[in-house]
């Protein structure tokens, strides 16, 4: 892996440093964020493009990354040009456990370690502590620079902020006061990119479903 994709970076940011697991706040949205990250990376690599209604392939040439190429191949094989929301839902909900897939590829890349930890001496679970934490620090630094600087952000940083906003990462790395003060700036930057807006829309659908399920649950 020469450099981290946006899907890799958002997973690193979603990890809890102490437990080595995806933060509980982010867990329900992790697959959506990864699916969005895959599409965003393909867009930055000039393989796909989007508009307000559709997502389409502009260059089907493989990029040399198995996760991205698998997604690109699937999009290229689909004759209909569905919108980005539809593809985010497809990859997030119908392609298995994307989160575990990305965690394992980060282990293979030497960014994370895989450790089997015992919980209450009975249950075993896999934890993914970071080897150096350099990647997380670098990504967090870029996010904070976009949020607290009024300059026009780069497309990659704009997209990373969209993912961080939708997945709950910002709630984890900023205080409530910081988040409140930065909310207008975050809203402004997230709007720049169509795929970022779609990730946020799918995340809102999930939140609504969770709310409906909690209301409908028998007492």
């Amino acid at each position: 892996m020469e450099h981290l994709t946006l899907a890799d970076e958002i997973v690193v940011l979603m990890l809890d440093d102490e437990t080595g697991a995806i933060r509980p706040l982010c867990a329900g949205f992790a697959n959506v964020a990864i699916a969005g990250g895959i599409l965003m990376e393909l867009a930055l690599l000039a393989r796909i493009d989007t508009d307000l209604k559709s997502l389409y392939v502009i260059d089907p040439k493989p990029v040399g990354d198995e996760m991205l190429d698998s997604a690109l191949q699937e999009i290229a094989a689909e004759p209909r040009h569905d919108g980005s929301k539809s593809w985010i839902r497809h990859f997030a909900f119908h392609k298995g456990d994307l989160t575990s897939h990305v965690l394992e590829r980060l282990v293979r890349a030497g960014i994370l370690r895989a450790e089997d930890r015992r919980l209450l001496w009975m249950f075993s679970r896999r934890a993914y502590p970071q080897n150096t934490g350099r990647e997380e620090r670098e990504a967090k630094g870029r996010l904070l620079a976009v949020i607290f600087d009024d300059a026009i952000p780069s497309p990659r940083d704009t997209l990373l902020l969209s993912l961080a906003d939708s997945s709950g990462v910002l709630d984890a790395i900023l205080s409530a006061d910081e988040l409140r003060k930065a909310s207008k700036r975050i809203e402004q930057v997230v709007a720049f990119e169509e795929i970022g807006r779609s990730v946020k829309a799918v995340e809102a659908e999930i939140r609504l479903q969770i709310e409906i399920a909690s209301i409908a649950r028998p007492m």
């Binding site: 867009a43 000039a46 796909i48 493009d49 989007t50 508009d51 307000l52 502009i58 260059d59 300059a151 026009i152 952000p153 780069s154 497309p155 704009t158 402004q188 709007a191 720049f192 990119e193 169509e194 795929i195 807006r197």
Partner: protein, 112 residues
């Protein structure tokens, strides 16, 4: 997509015709970069004849605006057709760069 460029009063004006998308935006980006690299960091896009813009096209404009601002200049656009204006409004680009109705206003916003 066709691009015609002229420089007057220290501002580079690009008159663009056709679609700005993932296939054409690299050419646009290259053309816009030539002005900024050549020291003209006040850039105006005449988009009266642009019929379509995709996310890649918007990304190209935003990246250029970032570089223009870094060079103590800026980027303004004018003459958006309704379909293109809809895309600009959805992305909130008017909050970070001047989106105006005509060339005179674009020049004024860039400090003519």
């Amino acid at each position: 997509m066709d691009i015609n460029q002229e420089v007057t009063d220290g501002m580079a004006v690009y008159r663009i015709t056709g679609r700005i998308d993932g296939l054409t935006s690299p050419d646009l980006e290259q053309a816009l970069s030539s002005s900024i690299n050549g020291g003209t960091s006040r850039v105006i896009l005449d988009m009266r004849a642009v019929t379509y813009i995709s996310s890649a096209g918007l990304r190209c404009i935003l990246s250029t605006a970032k570089r223009a601002k870094a060079g103590q200049g800026g980027l303004a656009v004018f003459g958006l057709q309704s379909a293109v204006n809809e895309v600009f409004e959805a992305s909130g680009f008017n909050t970070v760069l001047p989106v105006v109705s005509d060339e005179n206003e674009a020049r004024l916003r860039l400090g003519a």
